[in-house]
Symmetry: C2
């Protein structure tokens, strides 16, 4: 008998039929003797419907009230889900965030979970009930309703699994696991059986939309065994876990493509100490996340500075950077939105020399021009021209043989 937390996304509970379907899956786990906690998202389309309602009354809806509004989406799902279970004679109880006691800070629309008091959940589980919890939402210390932002239900599920020390946290979605790359971009993409938290974090931050990145960080920090699988099939999915012996012994596990970033270049920046601080402090103060930064070697006391920011923040970034650039005596501020970022990710990279070279070589062979490069211990990212995005994914997928299932490690590793 295990304690299992399951999370079902919006497409899995999009209508009463699908809710009944998913509920039957939950009941099977419960009949097998497991304790079940089910975290649900709003029905697909519901959050957008509510946002549109809000937009009819306010161009820029108040953040606190928008959260009160959006929280109804999951409230509808958990109540429908629980009443279906009860109509089948299965004991079930829905809990909203103030009942499940999911406490967050007061950052409306992007709140962070700071604690969960599991007493009520445990009490309901002890009664033998299936507990359904409204995902995506929490309450602050005085009971204001907050939401965690898009994909927040993943975080709710992992946080509850961590707080309950659950044996497993299953994230049910409309794809059947984590792939070596997006199958819509490259049909040769292969489903992974296992992936490490670190690789998953890199892939998630790279734009793989299967798992919300905060939920992966949470899972890693509290060692929550996480499975990503489909609610529409019986396939086993992908286990996200600590890097271990059983992992595939390959240098690269996946290729990710992201089109979220824009590039800003400031030319002929006087190469003086403190210049970078002058430029990036106000950007950071505006809560804009700068991803890559590249500074060319200084020539005649001047340098070119290039960095990327999320496309949605480009306008604001330019507004901030232009006066500063003028102030410090730089020449021009240029920007470019038609860029893509292609990344290869793999824990095996650490022990494999030449991975970067192989990446650059494969791209060069197809005349894909690399504009910027950044690396971490388990990731290499290249900014390229937008039009080369899909081609780069296919080329790299082939270059690292990701379509071929690698042999499993046996015995002691060396």
């Amino acid at each position: 008998m295990a304690l299992i937390v399951q999370k079902y996304g919006g497409t899995s509970v999009a209508n009463p039929d699908r809710i009944a379907n998913v509920a039957n899956r939950v009941v099977r786990g419960w009949r097998d003797g497991n304790k079940m906690v089910v975290v649900l998202s709003a029905m697909a389309g519901e959050t957008d419907r509510l946002i549109n309602l809000a937009k009819e009354l306010s161009e820029d809806p108040d953040a606190r009230e928008l959260d009160v509004l959006l929280a109804t989406g999951e409230q509808v799902t958990v109540s429908l889900f629980s009443m279906f279970l009860r109509s089948q004679g299965v004991p079930a109880t829905s809990l909203l965030s103030h009942q499940a006691r999911i406490y967050t800070d007061r950052a409306y629309g992007r709140a962070r979970i700071i604690g969960i008091d599991t007493a009520r959940i445990k009490e309901e589980l002890k009664k033998g009930r299936i507990v359904t919890v409204a995902g995506f939402q929490g309450v602050d210390e005085v009971g204001n309703i907050t939401t965690l932002g898009r994909g927040g239900s993943d975080t709710t599920a992992v946080a509850i699994a961590a707080a309950l020390k659950a044996d497993l946290c299953e994230i049910y979605t409309d794809v059947d696991g984590i792939y070596t790359t997006d199958p819509r971009v490259y049909p040769k993409a292969r489903k992974l059986d296992r992936i490490s938290y670190d690789e998953m974090l890199e892939l998630a931050s790279m734009g793989a939309k299967v798992l919300e990145i905060r939920s992966v960080g949470f899972a890693r920090r509290y060692s929550v065994p996480l499975v990503v699988r489909s609610s529409f099939s019986g396939e086993p999915g992908t286990l996200v876990t600590v890097e271990d012996e059983a992992m595939e012994i390959v240098p690269v596990s996946g290729v990710a493509l992201s089109r979220n970033d824009a590039r800003v270049t400031i030319t002929r920046v006087p190469d003086r100490p403190g210049v970078a601080l002058h430029l990036f402090q106000p950007v950071a103060d505006a809560n804009i996340v700068v991803d890559m930064i590249i500074q060319n070697t200084s020539i005649d006391g001047h340098t070119d500075l290039t960095f990327t920011v999320p496309k949605g923040d480009l306008k604001k970034t330019l507004e901030i950077v232009k006066p500063v650039a003028a102030d410090i005596g730089a020449e021009r501020v240029l920007s470019e939105e038609n860029i893509a970022k292609v990344s290869i990710v793999g824990v095996g990279m650490k022990n494999n020399a030449g991975v970067a070279a192989r990446m650059f070589e494969a791209m060069a062979a197809e005349n894909i021009n690399i504009l910027m490069i950044s690396t971490s211990e388990i990731k290499i990212s290249c900014v390229i021209e937008d039009r080369h995005g899909e081609l780069a994914v296919r080329v790299l997928h082939d270059a690292f043989g990701l379509d071929i299932p690698p042999p499993k490690k046996r015995g002691t590793s060396f």
Copy 2:
């Protein structure tokens, strides 16, 4: 500067335009320097939409979960309402039942308010904010969500007004006040300026659907000055208040028609002590409210017993009564659904002899057959054939001259 509680029903907040409209009315009160608490219902049609969703998943939805579901209706309205106010630069805050601390018992679907801790509402008012409160709902002592039943938002408003000792509680609806009778039944119906709590209670219980009956009882118990008025016009509405000198000096204030009841007759019941108890105890145990009971004079030790129950409870009543009737040796159990109940109501009745006679005379003149009669201090009700319902209303309205505004009392009353 006054403390005003306003309640707007579903048709008044049926869409974003109407919400904006109503909000502007609230803002006028607030700009005049009043403290404003606004209780809102779900958008018209929303509760039915949610019930239909529930019915798709369960024929007989679990009561607790249905309340969780239905509570989203008002949550949507209060958040939209508050974000509109905020977008206009007016400080506003929505409060759900667990935030406004509206405590009820645990009778899901028909919960009773047992207390309100007004600390949070007062705190928000002190900050100069307009407070919007989700009507129709509460929480029990452990935080489960409950709903008060249809029309429950009226009760929420009156209860908050009572708890805050508000100067006024205004119930905004789609009609502009309390009428001498339903204007759709008789266009000569006249709007009343004032009506006593007692009269309003009788009218509400008689099927006048403008005010939920529990809210009137609440208002009377805590002497909350209540005004019923239209959100679509600037008309002053009707004040529901204690019976006083300023009331119209008429024996009858209104005529009500109800088609909610069915009649059950048990023939040749042996006239023994305890027989009535035998029959009515199991009916009461099944939570069926018996309205009128008539027992004919006993002939040869037998009597006929006739009573009315809500139409929706007729089937269940017959199931209960038939075996008991057989048991005690009664002859037959008959039932009739094609009945109507017409009532005249007025505090002036107490001091006016001959009101009943005038009622019977008016009906006899039109050959309306009276099947049952019941009276209270300020009400006379007659059960008649269903087809005579509207005719009876018009005849009685004319007989008591309700279309003519009566003179106001002047000086000392005698």
